[in-house]
């Protein structure tokens, strides 16, 4: 009996082939877009966060600067230089700090292995630097440690591309290289990572030494930067304020003078970044939502035509005792069915694309699209709401028909 209604719907759709096909396609495409854009938005966001964290998660980087405010009778424009003892002082006086490292930099240092000679960037850093800056040794190696620093060992850690340039595919750990004609032992090679922000070149091209070694070798005394990280995001702002207080007291500048020491606080970027991506994803969602709404209007449109063409049948059903509610729900269910068929195939299509996506090897650029069950449920319910809206108005028109008039048609 109920199959009869399906047969009829099928026949009605067949009579309106082009229109039905376009409508189904509209819903199909809307759903596909909704899910794909949602999933890619998700993937790109996650990928960007990961790349962003390539520099280090929730870290801050500070540079020596010049005072921009007068302080206790001292003029502005005094340059403030940071040294190892500043780091020691901060460590002592600011318990909120989890890790801190000085970084001495050199832009162009000759590095040689066998016949390969390369001019590389060099950083002298502390042991804590590796974890903070997400410079993680690949299997079989290690980063600079505290003993290296204490004993000023002649050891070095290589960025993965620099290693490739020097050694090709050969093993580097344990080998000797020459840095400014002084032999160094390679203790580790960086695990490849994504990194989209930097303050002195990409880590993959750099060479890292214990800061004490580089100080002796190259005469470094003044920090190019100091990198630090707070114990938690909650105390991050407190730590930052205390840094200005402690350094301000020592170097005699106003703790509010954020040019005396300039600070790149990545947690602020992260806020911006997160907001930006939410905006981006909402934008994507809105686009696909609009597509879906257009699809819904198409469905409503075709249902109006179906109602009109079936007015005789509606009149007949009414004369046989069908109530408004029956007519209404029949058309509503038909619309939901159409929406569901379009939506479901769109859903499957999008899911298939997401499933096979990893085989395109585009991960490095746009991450891996993923869809949470929440988003899946959301899209399906959105679809149903649109179906209900699209069906309601034509169905209501059908239910309010006058049986005598419609029988005449």
């Amino acid at each position: 009996m109920y199959l009869m209604f399906l047969r009829q719907l099928f026949h009605d759709m067949k009579g309106q082939k082009l229109r039905s096909a376009l409508t189904l396609f509209g819903i199909f495409w809307g759903t596909t877009a909704l899910i794909l854009l949602g999933a890619f938005g998700h993937g790109i966001h996650a990928h960007q966060v990961k790349k962003f964290n390539g520099l280090g998660e929730h870290i801050a980087i500070m540079w020596p600067g010049r005072t921009s405010m007068t302080y206790k009778g001292l003029p502005r424009g005094r340059s403030i230089l940071l040294r190892e003892d500043d780091v020691t002082l901060m460590k002592e006086q600011i318990p909120e700090l989890e890790a801190i490292s000085i970084e001495y930099q050199d832009w162009s240092i000759p590095v040689r292995h066998d016949k390969v000679l390369i001019s590389a960037r060099l950083s002298g850093v502390a042991a804590e630097y590796g974890d903070m800056r997400n410079v993680i040794p690949d299997w079989g190696g290690r980063f600079v440690d505290e003993i290296d620093v204490r004993l000023r060992r002649r050891v070095c850690f290589l960025g993965n591309e620099l290693k490739d340039d020097l050694f090709g595919s050969a093993k580097a750990v344990g080998e000797i290289i020459e840095i400014s004609n002084v032999p160094f032992t390679v203790i580790g090679v960086m695990k490849p990572k994504g990194q989209d922000s930097a303050y002195s070149g990409r880590d993959k091209d750099k060479i890292f030494l214990p800061y004490s070694t580089s100080a002796v070798m190259f005469g470094h005394t003044i920090a190019n930067v100091i990198v630090w990280k707070a114990k938690s995001l909650e105390v991050h702002k407190i730590a930052k304020r205390k840094i200005y207080e402690v350094l301000g007291k020592k170097h005699k500048f106003d703790p509010g003078d954020n040019q005396a020491v300039s600070m790149w606080d990545t947690t602020e970027n992260l806020d911006f970044f997160t907001n930006f991506f939410w905006g981006f994803r909402i934008f994507l969602l809105m686009i696909s939502f609009a597509t879906l709404v257009v699809g819904g209007i198409g469905v409503a449109n075709i249902m109006y035509v179906v109602v009109k063409e079936r007015s005789k049948e509606i009149g007949l059903k009414m004369s046989l005792g069908a109530k408004k509610g029956f007519i209404l729900s029949q058309f509503l269910l038909e619309t939901l069915l159409i929406t569901f068929i379009g939506g479901f195939t769109g859903f499957l299509f999008a899911m298939t694309l997401i499933r096979i996506f990893p085989s395109f090897n585009l991960e490095e650029y746009i991450g891996i699209p993923t869809i949470s069950s929440f988003e899946a449920i959301l899209s399906v319910s959105l679809l149903m709401v649109i179906g209900l809206f699209a069906g309601f108005f034509p169905a209501r028109r059908a239910a309010n028909m006058n049986p005598v008039q419609s029988l005449k048609m």
Binding site: M4, L316, K317, S319, L320, G321, K323, K324, P403
Partner: protein, 242 residues
């Protein structure tokens, strides 16, 4: 069964008002077999629609089966149509995508008859109109006479007290038309009240009583009616000559 007093029906088409029924009084007792005759446009169908609770009169009162239908809601009227009235139309009005069987089931579905009983009764009714071997045929696979018999089976589905038929033989040849009238006669003998609109005098003469409608009024003048009946007969004669 039907008691109409001072029924008036005006169609307001926007530009002009058509007074389809002027002041109709009509009484039909339970168990009667009545035909309504009259020229085209005289208001027969309008009267039928009001009798069938498909439409409401502009003025006047209508009692069906002892109850006034005035002021009833759409849903109450739908219930009355479902339970008390069986409709048979000139154009058969079967659902094209449904089988004969499903077409007969339809009113019982609206009347919430349980599925098993529904199927049993649909089968019985189709057997009763001699279509026991056509259950799964679609309307397009049936002849006009067969379609009308399906429609009659459908009209009986909810065991109505009253059957309203608007020119049920109008689209049929005389032989299958006669078979349909036989069927009505049989139903009437088993106690159903039947109101039948017809153009055909031979059909009309087979009923107990003829109500003559002209210009939206019931005419009792024997002369006028006789004249029209004569014209009908003449037409019938011409029809058979062809």
């Amino acid at each position: 069964m039907i008691k109409m007093r001072g029924i008036r029906k005006v169609y307001d088409t926007g530009r002009i008002e058509v007074e389809a029924l002027k002041d109709v009084d009509l009484d039909i007792k339970g168990g009667e077999f009545v035909s309504i005759v009259g020229p085209s446009g005289s208001g027969k169908s309008t009267l039928m629609n009001i009798a069938g609770c498909l439409d409401v009169p502009s003025e006047g009162t209508y009692e069906l089966d002892g109850e006034s239908v005035e002021g009833l809601s759409m849903s109450q009227l739908a219930d009355i149509r479902n339970r008390k009235i069986g409709f048979v139309f000139q154009a058969f009005n079967l659902l094209p995508y449904a089988t004969a069987f499903e077409n007969v089931e339809l009113p019982m579905m609206f009347g919430k008859v349980p599925a098993r009983e529904r199927r049993k009764r649909a089968r019985e009714l189709l057997e009763r109109v001699n279509l026991g071997d056509r259950l799964d045929h679609r309307p397009a696979e049936l002849s006009g006479g067969e379609m009308q018999r399906v429609a009659i089976a459908r009209s009986l589905a909810m065991k109505p007290k009253l059957i309203l038929a608007d020119e049920p033989t109008g689209n049929l040849d005389s032989k299958s038309g006669a078979a349909i009238v036989d069927l009505f006669e049989e139903l009437w003998k088993s106690g159903t009240t039947i109101l039948l609109i017809t153009h055909d005098s031979t059909v009309a003469t087979r009923t107990n009583r003829v109500v003559y409608l002209k210009d939206g009024m019931v005419r009792s003048q024997a002369r006028e009616m006789a004249a029209d009946m004569k014209a009908l007969k003449e037409r019938k004669r011409l029809d058979t000559m062809q």
